[in-house]
């Protein structure tokens, strides 16, 4: 049975009064991830918003061991911890590398690629808030086309975002998934699945950011759900090469009632500089990715 609100565990591993911004989706992501891991995990975190949430010495707001690593070394550091645990015979712990989009797709890419190639026993999680939010919203390679950041202030970003899960998939690792804080049950189930697999596992999580995306703090969950409902973010999992849409994306593919991407981006002020032509390009890209995902799902069903 799929996990829902009422059968989610009650035990919490994140403490209130942490340093994250009001309405930060990383809080929702971490809460449900740590529940799925039963707190039996070692987190490796580079410079990122999650480091800020974890807190400053001598206090921490998470009740799991966290090791702060250098920006490009997240996956390497996690591989080392996994190797050490193997030597000690500790197979009850999951090593989780949790990095932002910059720490995964830009600076941490070589580390991740190396770990995936060695098939290190690491669960790499990328929470994608689509820019370097922690340092004040600088453009990253996962920032979408047309989004205004402090380093693309005039016309917004001129390039599309990388297809990160596809890059990671090319390493032929056992498990890849995407998840959204708008659907915590789906996120929880995927983390549980990943926990039971050994080898490199990768998860890409969409993480709406109120100050960076410039929307009201109350809309965090609505924004995460809209990203999925419009197809701008697709929920799927790839288990041993078999691609399957999951949760809300599967329901959308069956009913074919996806909303236009305009509904998702008009609520975010960072797209205030977007012209109609760019919006059409963005919609086209979303449609194309969606068509490919649905076709692959049907072919591998």
């Amino acid at each position: 049975m799929a996990t829902n609100t009422l059968n989610l565990p009650e035990q919490e591993y994140m403490l209130p009064g942490n340093r994250a911004c009001a309405g930060c989706s990383v809080g929702i992501v971490f809460r449900h991830m740590s529940k799925a891991l039963d707190g039996k995990a070692i987190f490796v975190v580079p410079a990122s918003c999650f480091t800020v949430l974890c807190g400053m010495y001598p206090t921490a707001s998470v009740q799991v061991p966290v090791m702060n690593s250098v920006f490009p070394g997240t996956a390497a550091c996690a591989s080392g911890i996994a190797a050490s645990l193997k030597k000690q015979g500790r197979d009850d712990l999951t090593v989780v590398a949790m990095a932002g989009d910059g720490g995964t797709a830009d600076i941490g890419m070589q580390g991740l690629s190396g770990a995936a190639e060695r098939n290190a026993n690491v669960f790499f999680v990328c929470y994608d808030n689509e820019a370097y939010m922690n340092t004040g919203t600088q453009r990253s390679s996962l920032t979408p086309l047309g989004a205004k950041t402090t380093t693309t202030p005039a016309k917004g970003k001129m390039q599309f975002a990388k297809d990160l899960p596809a890059i990671v998939e090319a390493h032929d690792i056992p498990y890849i998934a995407t998840a959204s804080p708008g659907y915590p049950g789906d996120l929880y189930d995927k983390v549980c699945t990943a926990r039971g697999i050994s080898g490199t596992r990768f998860m890409h999580i969409n993480a709406p950011c109120p100050p960076g995306w410039q929307f009201p703090t109350a809309e965090t969950v609505a924004m995460a759900q809209l990203a999925v409902e419009t197809g701008a973010f697709i929920l799927f999992e790839i288990m041993d090469g078999k691609f399957q849409l999951t949760g809300k994306s599967l329901a959308l593919a069956d009913k074919d009632n996806r909303q236009p991407v305009r509904k998702f981006i008009e609520l975010q002020s960072r797209f205030g500089v977007l012209d109609e032509e760019t919006l059409a390009r963005l919609q086209e890209r979303v449609d194309e990715r969606w068509r490919k995902a649905v076709a692959r799902h049907r072919a591998e069903e």
Binding site: T5, G17, A22, G23, I28, C54, M56, T59, T220
Partner: protein, 111 residues
Amino acid sequence: MGQTRHCKQKTAMSWPCVGEAGRTGDWRTLRPVVDPEKCVAARKGKIVCMQCWMFCPDNVISRTAPPEIDMEYCKGCGVCVQVCPSQAIEMRPEHAEDVAASTKEEASCDR
């Protein structure tokens, strides 16, 4: 919360503590108020719905009927208002005297 500086420890490591960033309830300009007449869990007196608990980014809403919000640390983001299916939570303006009344001395660890 207990001691935050374990001086007997030999290594420099952080310890879990509620209120790591201080009383984050001070960040609030609007406070969430649950209407027990509208809240399904409060009306039925049992654990149902719980959307506010599940989606709270700061883990300040309890999994109880009715749900209780820890005003000491609630940052007032309003996610609970938005996710509530029966519109039982509303944001009301924060008053300085309410903050003073709800602030407990012993609850914070950065004394």
